[in-house]
């Protein structure tokens, strides 16, 4: 027995194929073919069976009128009534005259109805697509195993600048820019990724703040930012 989804995929073309056969055979052939489908163990067998049933439906559609006609009448020639001149004019005005010039029970089929054939073809296409294995495009990478060492948290230096220009290094007042330079270089040597948080007072002159920024640039510390800027808004 096949997987249910594959079996269901192949049941679609069978249901489409039985639309080709005469109406009184549809229910029987659909049930018969769907019952035979699980006995096709392999994928190719099921697909071949489904395709074969589509072909069988087309053959049955063409041949079944000859089987079911009364004995002796199968070979009887069809007598076509000649169309009178006035009828030709009336017929020619009907839409679709060129495609179906004759109507009625005895009318001959002048063309193949391709709609069911196209239906079956589309259903077969869908079934084929559904039955294909999923293609995976993957690149094999050998990733490093083990646990990465924890990253030490960066040290944070708080620099406060008061309104009168006094600079504080982590709360401790700094004598001047020269000492601040020394502190910054020492910090850069100890931890190049240290974060410098500047807390200037809103009344501080920009000249002092600019000198502190210049000092941080000289020490090659890159993580410098203003903290607590809400008071400037």
């Amino acid at each position: 027995m096949r997987r249910p989804e594959i079996q269901h995929a192949y049941a679609l073309p069978l249901r489409g194929a039985v639309r080709l056969v005469p109406a009184h055979l549809r229910a029987r052939l659909q049930e018969e073919w769907l019952a035979e489908l699980p006995f096709r163990a392999r994928l190719g067998q099921a697909l071949g069976f489904a395709l074969g049933c589509c072909w069988a439906a087309a053959v049955i559609r063409v041949q079944s009128p000859a089987w079911e006609a009364p004995a002796g009448s199968a070979g009887a020639p069809r007598v076509l009534r000649p169309v009178a001149a006035h009828e030709r004019t009336a017929l020619a005005r009907r839409p679709g005259y060129l495609r179906t010039p004759a109507r009625g029970a005895d009318a001959a089929l002048c063309e193949i109805n391709t709609t069911p054939l196209i239906d079956v073809m589309l259903v077969l296409l869908v079934a084929l697509i559904m039955s294909l294995p999923v293609l995976t495009h993957a690149v094999k990478l050998e990733l490093p195993a083990g646990v990465a060492p924890p990253v030490p948290p960066a040290s944070v230096v708080e620099i406060d600048i008061d309104a009168d220009g006094t600079i504080a290094w982590n709360g401790t007042a700094v004598a001047g820019l020269a000492q601040l330079d020394e502190y910054l270089h020492r910090q850069a040597a100890a931890d190049p990724g240290a974060q410098i948080h500047l807390h200037p007072d809103r009344r501080t002159r920009y000249d002092v703040v600019a000198q502190v920024l210049a000092a941080t640039q000289r020490s090659h510390l890159r993580h410098v930012g203003f903290a607590g800027t809400s008071e400037f808004r």
């Binding site: 019952a35 699980p38 072909w55």
Partner: protein, 103 residues
């Protein structure tokens, strides 16, 4: 399906299907059984089965199982009729049939 004596066009595939039934004439065969024995593809097999059934050579019925208990749907089983057996024998004699392939 209709019945009655009707002239049947006998092809090589038809002979193979008939041979599958003649090996065990009283046995009922499903489509897959006939396909395994005759090695006729399903696209050819089912028109032959329906044609021979319409001609009265075969009769068919649904399998007598409970689909829920069996876990699968019921199959259609075909059996050759006495009239079909007689006509098939006549056909094989006419072909001088030797084990699967006409001589």
């Amino acid at each position: 399906m209709g019945s009655g004596r009707r002239k049947i066009r006998v092809s090589l595939q038809t002979l193979r299907v008939l041979e599958a039934f003649l090996e065990r004439s009283g046995e009922e065969l499903s489509g897959s059984d006939v396909q395994k024995r005759s090695r006729v593809a399903s696209g050819t097999l089912y028109p032959i089965l329906l044609r021979l059934e319409a001609a009265g050579w075969f009769v068919s019925r649904w399998e007598s199982i409970d689909p829920a208990a069996a876990g699968r749907p019921r199959r259609r089983l075909y059996r050759i009729t006495p009239a079909g057996l007689a006509q098939a024998t006549e056909v094989f004699c006419g072909f001088n049939f030797v084990r699967g392939v006409p001589a």
